[in-house]
């Protein structure tokens, strides 16, 4: 007898959204003014993107067409070698059009204000501004006078987020996780935008941060920041290096020597300078420095050239991090 039953139809399998597509969103911010309000997800996204761009830098053709047609202005009101060249290279590697501006030799010397300068440049149809300025909050101020996306390349003693990001990328090359990592930042914390950005970023990622320096160079507002995580202050270099994974030495700003913040450069070196002896005693200690280094002040000259000093890796990572930041922020155009 013929079977008249229809063939059983396979039940359609229900369909679920994969988790991977939910985390694919970009940054929550339109600008990069500092790391104080960036979430750990955003920082991790920048670092992960930077790792991919770093691979581009190792190829025979070190250029991708990603930012074709985007115009970036590098507004530098303060002297800078590394940051400026690094940003410029990052922009070129991404095929963006770049314009460089430095305060000397511009209308600023004729008395034009930051606002007027920026608005005039923006009137020439630009998309992004990279700003280095001597006043804290200058980049935030700029976001209120121009429509372009603003990247802070250092504003006074406030923040220098891309430097902290490249420090964190360098750290991630040596350590698997930030959680529980012991980082000591040694030197002039008060006047250091690098230290501020690093403290914010590292605490957000769950690292333990130790601040070390002469009393007059440690800011008083630290307890406000420390609510974010584990922040310790010490005035002894030994105590800062004991059990520490990474020592970040900061540049002593020689131009501030007239302010009598510490007795002498030589005394600073004996008290807070990292010597070969430290590297010999702490076998796993990694030394970082944002540059430019005063040899024989923050770091003994042999320490600078030691294999556990990763200062030049930091510089290499700088280009990759800035490419990542430019790439991720350039998508935030359509907010208006």
């Amino acid at each position: 007898m013929l079977n008249t039953q229809p063939h059983p139809q396979p039940e359609p399998v229900p369909f679920v959204q994969p988790k991977t597509e939910q985390i694919n969103s970009g940054l929550d911010h339109r600008h990069l003014l500092g790391l104080s309000d960036y979430s750990s997800r955003e920082i991790e996204l920048i670092l992960e993107t930077a790792r991919q761009f770093r691979d581009v830098l190792n190829r025979p053709i070190k250029r991708v067409p990603t930012l074709r047609g985007v115009t970036v202005v590098n507004l530098f009101f303060e002297a800078s070698t590394r940051t400026r060249i690094s940003f410029e290279l990052a922009e070129k590697r991404l095929s963006a059009d770049t314009v460089n501006f430095s305060a000397s030799g511009s209308s600023v010397s004729k008395g034009e204000s930051l606002k007027d300068t920026a608005q005039n440049i923006e009137a020439m149809k630009i998309d992004m501004v990279v700003l280095r300025h001597q006043s804290p909050g200058a980049s935030h101020f700029l976001t209120q006078c121009v429509d372009s996306i603003v990247i802070n390349a250092g504003d006074g003693a406030h923040e220098h987020p891309t430097q902290a990001l490249l420090d964190m990328l360098t750290l991630s090359d040596h350590f698997d996780v930030f959680k529980g990592l012991n980082v000591s930042i040694i030197g002039d914390i008060t006047h250091s935008r690098v230290a501020r950005s690093n403290i914010h970023g590292l605490l957000t990622l769950g690292a333990n941060v130790t601040i070390c320096g002469p009393r007059p160079l440690i800011p008083i507002e630290l307890d406000r920041i420390s609510s974010k995580g584990s922040l310790r202050v010490t005035h002894s270099l030994e105590s800062a290096l004991e059990g520490c994974d990474v020592a970040m030495a900061l540049r002593i700003q020689m131009e501030r020597q007239g302010q009598n913040l510490f007795p002498s450069v030589r005394e600073y070196h004996t008290q807070f300078g990292i010597q070969m002896d430290h590297l010999n005693r702490y076998k796993d200690l990694i030394v970082m420095h944002p540059g430019p280094v005063n040899r024989g002040v923050e770091l003994a000259s042999e320490v600078v050239d030691h294999e556990r000093a990763v200062i030049l890796n930091q510089v290499t990572n700088g280009v990759a991090v800035r490419m990542a930041v430019l790439y991720l922020l350039s998508g935030q155009n359509s907010t208006e």
Binding site: N24, L27, E48, Q52, D55, V64, P65, G69, L328, Q332
Partner: protein, 203 residues
């Protein structure tokens, strides 16, 4: 699973409304078997070809599809095939039309692509723009002898003159519809679905 449960699941995910399941996990496996054999035949693959042939999976699902194909080819020919990963995000052309930048993923090709016959692998062929970006990305990495293109689903609606050399299924679709290929390694489920998702940006 009861119909009600399925309906619940559909409505729990408000963005995607399933119109049909196009391929089951078994269909997908058979299609991969067929395409692997086509590749072996077309490129005359054997142990001598490992220096002049390569499979390149495009991020993200193409990577897993290429790795499946590689395993099947290896069981057929008995020799491994060089396998690479390509991410074309940096070469996309829809950069100013997006609210958020797509995540840049890893590109990892451990062999020199110069002079090789390559098969570029992706899940869905739609406008052809991702493929164009992939070809540009490859060009920056070297000069392959030839590039062929393999997709699981060709859904039509091309915006560029691009065609696939190996096609799992040709399924004509409408704008506003999306084809979702799901691979067990990445999605915890496997198969191909046709869904309605009017707000999804085109890929």
């Amino acid at each position: 699973m009861s119909c009600q449960k399925i309906v619940n699941l559909i409505f729990m995910e408000p963005n995607d409304v399933i119109k049909a399941q196009l391929m089951t996990a078994r269909d997908l496996e058979r299609t991969l078997q067929r395409m692997a054999r086509q590749i072996v035949e077309m490129f005359d693959l054997d142990e001598t070809r490992s220096g002049s042939f390569g499979l390149i999976g495009m991020q993200s699902r193409g990577v897993f599809i290429a790795s499946r194909l590689e395993k099947i080819i290896q069981t057929i020919t008995g020799s491994a095939v060089p396998l690479g990963i390509l991410d074309a995000t940096m070469y996309r052309d829809d950069f100013r039309m997006r609210l958020k930048q797509p995540v840049v993923r890893e590109t990892k090709i451990d062999f020199d692509i110069d002079g090789r016959d390559l098969v570029l692998v992706d899940d869905v062929l739609f406008t052809g723009r991702t493929t164009r970006a992939g070809l540009d990305a490859l060009t920056d990495l070297g000069r392959p002898a030839s590039v062929h293109f393999l997709v699981i689903v060709d859904r039509g609606l091309r915006e560029l003159p691009i065609k696939a050399d190996f096609v799992g299924r040709k399924i004509p679709t409408l704008p506003g519809e999306e084809v979702r290929v799901r691979i067990a390694e990445m999605d915890d489920q496997e198969g191909v679905w046709l869904v309605e998702h009017p707000t999804t940006p085109t890929t």
